[in-house]
Subunit: 408 residues, 2 copies
């Protein structure tokens, strides 16, 4: 498709048009008045361009314009060129002055203020770049798994029973019956191992988190994968390693300026839960920070105690108080949870204590033959938060949802 | 990553290993006893392989096995090779005989029976291929829009107000407050035009459809796009054309056997609603069928009456009883809806009759400068249904949801 404004030139393409008369379009991002001349910065989806205007210049910030002018080389302009002899056509004027000053190098407002004004705040180049990290990460995840023979699936989000437990689940009126929002695609991705062996899904999941923390949300994007014919959870961890490496590579290609990108070692170091020195059945946030200080920015913890893992988790052979499960810690926080699952029908019946009725659909998969399998889930917004150095997961979430926030 | 069963060979790779001893893995799909010899068909994620076994062979359908044997050229075998001298290792046995005979060329059961047994039914090669059409279509959509400078977004699905209207919306208990499941990402994708100019999203949307028809579901996958700096809806239609062409191309590359693939003309023909001969404010299913019979398998209908389009729809200049909107009909059914949107804040205030309070977040985008823009949404399952010749949208939906169906 052609650019819809005929012959529109993007800011990133401007330097290739030196000496030509071109049409650009975008938002008035900033202006700087220097006596006899005014420098106007135009923002478009590709970046910024400088326009040299004779005063007076009355258009205000965030006015949407089309501007025609001559491209002139100018060493001090961004990209080495600027637009001279401009004529502006206003496409839309703001109804009132924006409450955030997008022209500043960084927005200085507090997080709650930025979240209240998110439709505007995301326009800031630094904020926008965080969303590019999200998009590039998902693209890298899909590309890596496509290359490993995985098939993408779209599983139901309205479900008849809570996935992991009855707690923290959103309840919904489904044509007069109760139903729930899926806390994960867990049951369905396992089921689909019976069809495709290797599947992934990128989609929203929901947790009715009763507490507000900087690392939890009521709605987030989960990157899920599941694969059959594994030996144990170490085969899943090898896929996790390739997935995060592919995500880092994709961010490097598509949004390098926003992120502090790590090296991903060919094999990520790991230690067993029993070697962590943790005197409990799960890691606390302080443990996660300490383990990364001790072992580097990437570390797998394997063999979590069975007490804290869901019923479908495969026990550790010979030590059933532990499981064939893992978390991946990255820069002091858990970003991936995974493991090997039970695959025999009778093991599910036993793990559920015979209470199979709510799981009838799910259990069909195991009733009719399932290979040894396992999988993992990565929280996209938390991952991106680590890459951009966010203190709060809301900084890398497009319109976050939590106990107190349902808009914008 | 290496295949997790070391040296596992997939059915699609078998012919490259003639004369070698290899290990395969998969499900026992079928067996055929011919006196002194039994032919066993092994199904894996890549296809089928034939294994020649000396009777008796006692393993039953859907047993999961690893099998080692020698690859021998055999003209009549699928792929021109078969496995001889096999030794089987059982990885999992079905707990009971499957209620569907997957070995048949087609499943003969009625749709409700297949849906009740979906975890098993999707294993059938013909059924599975439909899901490959879905996956390939989404991949083609993303690839096309990535190439046109669009950015992927993940917008909230729990929302404070119904998108299009108060009807047909699922209501949910959000920490003690009412909230809704998004009927579309409409408000958010428009908002994000202010950030990225061009955005897309592939995700679930929900409609509490009171009727059960073969073309509606309570939950489906919507492929959404929105772009700024357009002239009018014809610029959006040009993107729609490229998107469907890219989707067809992707299916041709990745899942050609399952679909009857159309040619996509460089420009899809269109006619205005006033030229359709329809004496109402919207098209009925019979009109959609008739228009495709008259104009070909692809046809745009533009200029729908304002009475049936949502409040954010841009009126047709000079004829405000019509709108700058369109539907794309494909093989007798509407698969895409789109149009140009209002972009000036005062036009929204007026379209909402001053009742702006429930839309405060959304309206921020327009308050602070938005370019002329428009977009579209394509229903993935309905699209795939047209490609594979499905009579009912449930045939191309992974675990459908409707008034009477909440499992599996």
């Amino acid at each position: 498709m052609e650019e819809v404004i005929r012959m529109r030139v993007l800011s990133s393409e401007l330097s290739a048009h030196a000496g030509e008369r071109v049409t650009m379009a975008g938002w008035l991002h900033a202006k700087r008045e220097l006596g006899s001349v005014t420098f106007v910065v135009l923002r478009d989806r590709a970046g910024m361009a400088q326009v040299v205007v004779e005063p007076p210049f009355e258009l205000s910030a965030e006015t949407v314009v089309e501007v025609e002018g001559v491209v002139v080389a100018a060493e001090q302009a961004p990209g080495g060129v600027e637009l001279h002899e401009p004529s502006f056509r206003v496409l839309a004027e703001p109804a009132e002055p924006p409450p955030l000053e997008l022209r500043r190098p960084e927005l200085k407002e507090s997080l709650p203020v930025l979240l209240d004004h998110a439709p505007l705040a995301w326009r800031h180049p630094r904020e926008r770049a965080k969303l590019e990290v999200l998009a590039a990460s998902v693209a890298g995840f899909r590309r890596t798994l496509d290359g490993l023979g995985f098939t993408e699936i779209c599983t139901p989000k309205i479900v008849a029973s809570a996935t992991e437990s009855g707690a923290n689940v959103f309840r919904l009126d489904y044509f007069g019956r109760p139903a729930f929002l899926a806390q994960s695609p867990q049951f369905y991705k396992q089921t689909m191992v019976g069809v495709f062996e290797r599947v992934y899904e990128t989609g929203k999941v929901w947790r009715a988190e009763p507490h507000e923390t900087g690392r939890h949300l009521a709605e987030y994007t989960s990157l899920d994968a599941e694969l059959g014919f594994i030996g144990d959870h170490f085969d899943v961890m090898a896929v996790v390693r390739d997935a995060v490496a592919g995500m880092v590579e994709s961010v490097r290609e598509r949004a390098p300026q926003a992120a502090d990108l790590p090296e991903v070692p060919p094999e990520i170091p790991w230690l067993h839960f029993s070697e962590t020195g943790v005197d409990d059945v799960d890691l606390a946030p302080a443990d996660e920070r300490r383990l990364c200080e001790q072992h580097g920015e990437w570390v797998f913890v394997t063999g979590f105690p069975a007490a804290k893992r869901p019923f479908y988790t495969h026990p550790e052979p010979g030590r059933p108080e532990y499981t064939n499960s893992f978390d991946l810690l990255f820069r002091g926080i858990e970003i991936v949870t995974g493991g090997q699952r039970l695959h025999r029908y009778e093991d599910y019946v036993s793990a559920l204590g015979g209470e199979t009725a709510p799981y009838e659909g799910y259990l069909q998969a195991f009733k009719y033959g399932m290979p040894p399998h396992g999988g993992f889930a990565l929280g996209l917004e938390r991952w991106a938060g680590r890459l951009v150095g966010a203190k709060n997961i809301r900084e890398t979430t497009l319109f976050p949802r939590d106990r107190s926030r349902l808009t914008p």
